[in-house]
Symmetry: C2
Subunit: 421 residues, 2 copies
């Protein structure tokens, strides 16, 4: 193209800002029609989608993408089914926009409350998985936000084919095409432009590896909803039920190794360690999990465990490796988690009410759990319908981010000619 990348991105930004004004006042019915029509369009365009995806996969192989990357990139009939189902589910979620709450009379006579509103324009930067295009577009659309989607260059043909279907949905509902825009250039400068246009973009949601997210957070001139590390803990309290403890510590580590909500460090009260650790070590051994323990864990488990280094406590393995530490008290467990954790998801296994209550209050993480596996930390499991990401930040949205995280609230004031004196 003869247009510069900056000019191109500015054009997208201006279009998105204008579309966001229309979308902010779109009816719930309009938004749902767009989502349902996009689902139908996807269903009818299966051949085109798979053909576009094959092109991406061929290019990916030619460019030497590894198998894990190719797997994330690949669309199957099942994955297209899931995208269609995802659109329909978002259509059935309650519309958060326009809800007014807590209109209360003040001593002055004015009535004050809050109205939920869209953020405006959301920029999404992501890698490989084409289904993110649907997840992001559908959540943003339902929450009344215009979206600019910048997927990985390796998925460009798939993303373009998906975008065509979304455009059909928007057209059916009479909504502007610029409500959802896919960045058509694979030039990396497009990302740099997208994250530095505060006039046209209200928030950036990066999804991908830690390197990408750190780079974007550092360079962005607009707010970023982000997720960095997932160093999650399970703490088996002295008052834990043995059966629940084993079940949860097993599931939190072994159900899947790669996700961010998988346990990386197991903390065990020394008063229950001799009962709970040997059977757990047996399970981990059978499932091929390498154990790295503190000195006391090593003494207890012998050669079933390697010695953990200081670095282990601060490491997100995303792999079949688990660090284990014995603690003398709940206080020590909480201190460990607040020091080494990533404020993502941490669980206590206990039958003791007071210990549970203290853990919930004092562990400073986006999701805190009692007697449940850390693997539940997920927008779908939390009832959000879907998620655009998980935030490990404290401001705005914390934990799994669904429709509400893509909105804000403004104050609404009703008067009858009231003036301030």
């Amino acid at each position: 193209m003869t247009e510069s990348v900056l000019d191109y991105m500015t054009r997208l930004g201006k279009g998105a800002r204008a579309a966001s004004r229309v979308l902010a006042r779109a009816t719930t019915a309009q938004k749902n029609i767009a989502l349902q029509a996009a689902a139908e369009a996807l269903d009818k365009a299966r051949d085109e989608l798979l053909a576009a995806n094959r092109l991406d996969l061929e290019n990916g192989r030619a460019n030497g993408l590894d198998e894990a990357m190719l797997d994330r990139l690949a669309l199957s009939t099942k994955r297209v089914d899931e995208m269609i189902e995802g659109l329909r589910q978002v259509a059935t979620l309650p519309d958060p926009i326009g809800a007014i709450r807590d209109m209360r009379f003040m001593p002055s006579g004015i009535q004050v409350g809050k109205m939920r509103v869209p953020l405006g324009v959301v920029g999404i930067i992501y890698e490989s998985r084409p289904n993110v295009t649907i997840d992001a577009a559908s959540l943003c659309l339902k929450s009344g936000n215009a979206t600019i989607l910048r997927g990985g260059s390796e998925a460009i043909h798939s993303n373009r084919a998906i975008a065509v279907c979304i455009q059909q949905g928007l057209a059916t509902a009479g909504l502007p095409a610029a409500c959802v825009q896919v960045v058509e250039t694979t030039d990396r400068a497009a990302v740099g432009a997208l994250i530095t246009m505060p006039d046209y973009v209200d928030v950036i949601v990066p999804r991908g590896g830690k390197g990408l997210i750190e780079r974007i957070s550092r360079d962005a001139r607009v707010p970023v909803i982000k997720h960095l590390d997932g160093i999650c803990h399970v703490y088996i309290d002295q008052a834990a039920d043995l059966d629940k403890a084993i079940r949860i510590a097993d599931n939190a580590k072994t159900q899947r190794f790669a996700p961010c909500n998988t346990m990386e460090t197991l903390l065990v009260h020394e008063g229950i360690a001799a009962q709970v650790l040997p059977p757990l070590a047996q399970i981990y051994r059978e499932k091929g999990v390498e154990l790295r323990g503190c000195a006391r864990t090593c003494t207890l488990l012998g050669n079933a465990v390697l010695a953990a280094s200081e670095e282990d406590w601060a490491t997100e393995y995303n792999a079949p490796i688990l660090s284990i530490r014995l603690v003398d008290s709940l206080d020590e467990a909480i201190t460990h988690i607040n020091r080494y954790g990533s404020q993502h998801t941490d669980a206590i296994v206990t039958e003791n009410f007071t210990d549970a209550r203290r853990f919930l209050t004092e562990v400073d993480s986006s999701s805190v759990m009692v007697n449940a596996s850390t693997r539940f930390a997920d927008g779908f499991e939390f009832g959000l319908g879907a998620e655009i990401g998980i935030s490990t930040d404290k401001l705005h949205a914390r934990g799994p981010v669904g429709l509400e995280g893509l909105t804000s609230e403004k104050y609404v004031v009703f008067g009858d000619g009231h003036v301030r004196t």
Copy 2:
């Protein structure tokens, strides 16, 4: 001091982080005792406070501070009374921390809800007014946040004297001294350090001139809750009640000229302009307000009004100057506000339900009002008890920021040994 500014600020940061853990689990009673005891200490230390303040005023005069600055800096018996009353009012506000809402059962059997928690450590950077020291410290304390306060160097003696009283309050309640720390150095490098310590500071709230806030927003490596411009509008709809329109347009401009929520541009529907503008122009003339109008306003009001330039629509005067524009429709008014406004506070005067509803929905500002003066946009008037500032950002807190804006919510999950399948 022999310690470098960076070392000093790091020490404050570490102390604040440790204190924030204690404060996060402090009881409501403890926090209220600290606030009440600080109020008593202030009451007993009136002589010391006024002496310290006299020193600041003398230095300020010697350093050539202007009268407005000296006025903001000065403590009077009345202002000390207000600080004491402010502390007592914050003590009476409900404690937001620990509130759990919406615990709902999910299909998996887990129960999921949200718990309100402190942000952690709040850094406040402000100028001259010593009362901000009390407002900020009390709101942060009540919301369970440790605070690092960096007031203007011109108020250093006053702020230190106030800090002594706050420390007495903390000690009475058995809370760590580092819950509230006043930066003791007037070295400007202290600000640079404070806004670039994400490990120790969770959010920065700058209060002061636009230059200060822009500089801090640009350089900060931690989130900033900020307020930039206050270009507020009143739109007099065709269906306005004349009496209410005149009362509100008068009050919004003339009750005080300097505040951020004062009206800067008056928009008037052309169908009502001939009725409402002449009497309003008369009022403004009597109150010494300079009028700058669009061409049609000039035609209507003659030599009572100067010609407005394009720049006027985008200017926050903070002065007895008002720009006036006639519009042909509600749409034109909304478009003008969304284009030239600062997303702060905008009001419509109308008796028409549909126009009011559209204005509330489509004007993208932190406070939107029907038949009330923009001057009401204020934490106290909105029932927040007090405010730490007004946010013109969309993420996290929008509009007047009170206790809730200094908190976040984390997910809470209850299970009974639940694992993910």
